[in-house]
Symmetry: C2
Subunit: 80 residues, 2 copies
């Protein structure tokens, strides 16, 4: 199969969100593995979210919010 490259850039909002995700995780002294396990996702894929290399659907947002023990609204509180 052909190389499968992105056609459109990841929106800036998602990059910002990824940074926030990592910052929040570090602030709470949690490992990628810990959050990934609680969210039921692969740790390597969670890193992609943090790095803004992959977008996510809102159901994933919810799973990650649950892993942090907060609401989706709180998880997005960085957005002004």
């Amino acid at each position: 199969m052909s190389k499968r490259e992105r056609k459109k850039e990841i929106p800036a909002f998602c990059i910002e969100f990824g940074k926030h995700l990592r910052a929040l995780r570090i602030k709470n002294d949690l490992s990628v593995e810990e959050i990934a396990f609680k969210a039921g996702i692969d740790a390597q894929n969670l890193r992609k979210y943090e790095l803004g290399k992959q977008e996510m659907k809102i159901s994933m947002l919810k799973r990650i919010a649950d892993a942090f023990g907060i609401t989706t609204s709180e998880l997005l509180s960085f957005d002004k």
Copy 2:
């Protein structure tokens, strides 16, 4: 091509979010067309979100929040 049916159910969270979306739109006395236009999406597809027939990515959440003139966090404030 074969019939293309969903393999997994839309998560309950997305259904709830859809209901919230519609409620918010009605409360603000806005039409589907109006929000869809501001968000740059098809009105018929926006209805699908409201009905919980389709999930969305967080970049779409952002576009819809912008259309309402609120933050993504505020848009998800129904989530407790």
